[in-house]
Amino acid sequence: MIDDERRTIRRNTTLVAILVASIVALGPAATHFVMSYSHIRGMLEAEAEINARLVRGLVLANPGLWQFEEVRLKELLQKRPRQKTHEIRRLYDLKKKVVAESADPVLPPTISYSCDIQDGGRTVATIEIVRSLAPTATTTALLLTLGLVVGIFSFFKLRMAPLRTIEAVQRVLRESEEKYRSVYESLKEGLALYRVIPGEEGEVELILTDINPVCETVFGFGSRDPGRSIDEICDGIFAPYHGKIASVLRNNKDVSFEMQHPGRDRFFTVTVFRAGGDRLATLLEDVTAEKRSAEQLERLAYYDSLTGLLNRRMLLDRLEQTIGVAQREQVNVAVLFIDLDGFKVINDTLGHEAGDQILIEVSERLQRSVRKRDTLARLGGDEFVVVSTYDKEQNAGYIAKNLLKCISGVYGVRGREVYLGASIGISVFPDDGDSSEVLLKNADIAMYSAKNHGGDFCFYRAELNQRLHQRMQLDFDLRRALEKDEFFFEYQPIIDARTGRISAVEALIRWNSPEKGRVMPDVFIGLAEETGLILPLGEWVVRKACAKLREWQEAGLPLVRMCINISGRQFMQGDIYNVVSSALKENGIDPRYLELELTETCLIQNVEETTKKLGMLKELNVSISVDDFGTGYSSLQYLKNFPIDRLKIDRGFIKNAPHFANHRAIVDAIIGIAKAMDLKVIAEGVETVEQAEFLKARNCDGLQGYYFYRPLAEEPLVVVLCSQGDEEAPPSHFLATRVLGPIENTLPAPFSATRSADPADKQASDPPSVVGGE
């Protein structure tokens, strides 16, 4: 079609160009020739008439002999309007003989004009004037030549310029079409064009004229669909929307709607717009993925991705609804905040996947346990919430007991069986709050109370909230204390069972609070672990211990090992290697004098990671001991694999060892294994002479406990160390002559007074809990 139009334009343009070129080429020459010819002919006519009159005058004056008046005739004929114009003027008699003439050289071609001379109505002669057309012809030829040049030029210009313009326009159009065609065909959306055919009574028929590839691949259009009615294509899925699509023509406004492809389970939006002229276009956009994503987002927004339970946001929403229902129906609403007991250990020791498996199992158990009208949600971690309505005669405790019964028990994970319990905090509407946020918060507080009391469930009380505030205040105070360097050490010596001399001291952290005075670690270590403050606090302990060693070294004190407790969280999450390494380097002390005490639980959390970290620490040449040995997993495997120097037997075994055979057997076994593995053994919590003698008899390497020393402030410790340094040989019967006596005399009164009553005693005899031990 375009080619036909191009040929038509080319033909018409050529015709016009020929016409114009011909006019340009021939026009000036022809005009000049015609005008010149007319002018010359007019001149000749005039001259012939004038000469004829003159000659007629001569004839009339001398009718008989006029033809012999040669001179006069010649003179008449010689008269020229312009002398330079060459002419031939001849006077003929009736016999066509020349009577007189005036002849200039005249080049052919010539133009002539004759006029009769009459005498009394009778022709007596004829005068003829001839003039050359050569100048006119020459000028005409020049004009023709010039005109031809200009004409040819005009022809090509006229013919080529429009064609070039048309070709340029066509090229631009073609490029544009190709560009839009490529866009059209590369669209991710389906684009279908329809031709509108008006029907009867204002109805229109839409005939599909073109589709892009996406229409076929995604929307199921067929290659034979063009030419068919919109109501017929794609199994008629557009037929129900015919009116809506056609409304674009009436309203002249784009229409957009969403529809589902029934055969393909896909959703797409259809945008209908005018495509110019009598055309409509539908833009089909596959929004299935978006729709799925939206659903997914909704699920993510309102549901817990792991368990599929409601999340916190949805819980609050449902809780609000439930509160509304409770207000109308005069029923109570119980919010049961569930936190799993022992989950953290499972998660830490068996890994997150195992933890997730446990959580899924718990959620399933809970789902089976709650009623359909109840709301079950997971807030995150191991926290679940059940919202339940109940009559006022009923008790929420009953619901909590059911839940505990359902949750608590043995779970199988990774081929192992683990036990889980739960703590449940209960808040009740309307007694404990009238909003979802308050009820949830109070249930959370009650849950903490329950957990602190060893599990089970606990109803919210106002004082629980107060206690929570106290914890928050404590957390704030601890952070401030760290900034203001309010922590300090007390040191509990460890006695070499063989020599009776102090072989090491265990640094025990204390907090000198401006408001509360001296605060023991059991008050704040747990909270520090929960809040993460244990990491900077643990680093402070490492750096402070090293600094003290350097201080003592510089003071010339006899050096002993400094044992510090490393929190499990600090060991696993903190950068323990760099902290220890930099502290040693900064203070320039011998690494052998620093001993890191780690608990079994800490070591066993991630064996691979522990092996790696312990290896690195050992490269620093520091000592590593296992604290509270016997209370955890007591795995012989890790004893073999880990680079451990000492085992510290938990004081629980020491306490009863003299009295119970099984405890003695455990202690014997621990000492035996340690000896077999070339490890040193230190007994904690040695409080009596019997215990000390028993341990010494079992070749226990080190003894630590109140029997020998309570935790000492730095000053008395220095005295003890100095006094010990003065003695050349150890006391031969150090068990009978406790060194405590002389030392006690040196202690300041306040220090001695606090030893028996202060909870720090317990702490001092329980080193792992000082800085993170459990």
């Binding site: 001398n62 008989g64 002999l65 012999f68 008046e69 040669e70 001179v71 006069r72 010649k74 003179e75």
Partner: protein
């Protein structure tokens, strides 16, 4: 063809002898030319010649009342010779001798006489009694456009091929140039000397050169000017004082007979000579020719 002007009376005398011999030959021709007794004698020629012939015819008619003449408007020398050749005339009065071609056509011609070639002006303007040839040259060369007393100089020229033009050119090289120059400036051209005389007569400020016969035919019609102080009279012409003149030839065809022969005898007679002299023609035809 030689149109040189004869200077002095001695030269004229020598030629007079030759002319008489030629007139005898012409007479022989005339005698043998048959003539119808009732037919008019048709005479035409140069304007001066026609005027001369008119006077001669009138004189002859007094003595021969039966004689009939036909004198039309002047055809000029060439026209009259042509008409004579065609048999339309019996006598042609020419201001030039015959050409060889014309002679070959059976024509015969003799110099009859000479009339002074004079300067005439309009009677009213200018009041010119004498003219110097320098002034004449200035007029012809266009250097003088108006007369000293005001009127425009209107030079009446003759056709370039006319005998009078040739005589004018021959007066001096400057006059030759002047004739060419004046013709290029479209001056007033009179075809015959009769026309020229009429134009001078009617046109104020007009001036031309013409045979003396014309102004004498109409005394006081124009002013006759002395040229370089010499009055154009037959006496001065005969004496050679006046150097410029125009020849007049009588041309016939065949053998004149009857009245024509008789008329030719009359014009060659002393009576005819006297009439010619009165008309301003110094007859050069030898006396023996009578």
């Amino acid at each position: 063809m030689n149109y040189r002007y004869r200077k002095g009376a001695q030269n004229m005398h020598l030629h007079r002898i030759g002319a008489a011999a030629l007139f005898l030959v012409l007479s022989l021709f005339v005698i043998t030319t048959p003539s119808h007794a009732d037919a008019p004698i048709r005479v035409n020629g140069t304007g001066s010649g026609v005027v001369l012939m008119k006077a001669l015819v009138e004189a002859y008619a007094k003595e021969n009342p039966q004689a009939v003449f036909d004198l039309q408007k002047s055809l000029g020398s060439s026209g009259a010779i042509k008409a004579l050749g065609k048999g339309a005339l019996d006598i042609a009065v020419s201001a030039r001798p015959l050409t060889a071609k014309e002679s070959g056509e059976g024509l015969a011609g003799l110099e009859y006489g000479r009339t002074p070639f004079v300067v005439i002006t309009n009677r009213k303007y200018p009041h010119l009694a004498e003219i110097r040839h320098e002034l004449l040259e200035s007029i012809f060369n266009g250097r003088m456009a108006a007369w000293p007393n005001g009127p425009t100089v209107r030079l009446i020229l003759r056709p370039l091929d006319d005998v009078d033009t040739k005589l004018t050119r021959a007066m001096s090289p400057e006059m030759d140039q002047g004739v060419t120059a004046s013709h290029e400036h479209y001056p007033i051209v009179a075809i015959t000397d009769a026309d020229a005389f009429e134009m001078v007569k009617k046109t104020p400020g007009a001036i031309t050169l013409i045979g003396l016969v014309m102004p004498l035919s109409e005394p006081r019609a124009v002013r006759l000017a002395k040229l370089d102080g010499v009055e154009p009279t037959l006496k001065n012409l005969a004496s050679g004082k006046y150097r410029y003149y125009k020849e007049i030839f009588i041309v016939t065809k065949g053998q004149p007979a009857g009245a024509l022969a008789d008329f030719l005898k009359f014009i060659a007679s002393s009576k005819g000579r006297a009439v010619a002299a009165r008309s301003g023609v110094l007859v050069t035809l030898p006396a023996k020719a009578k």
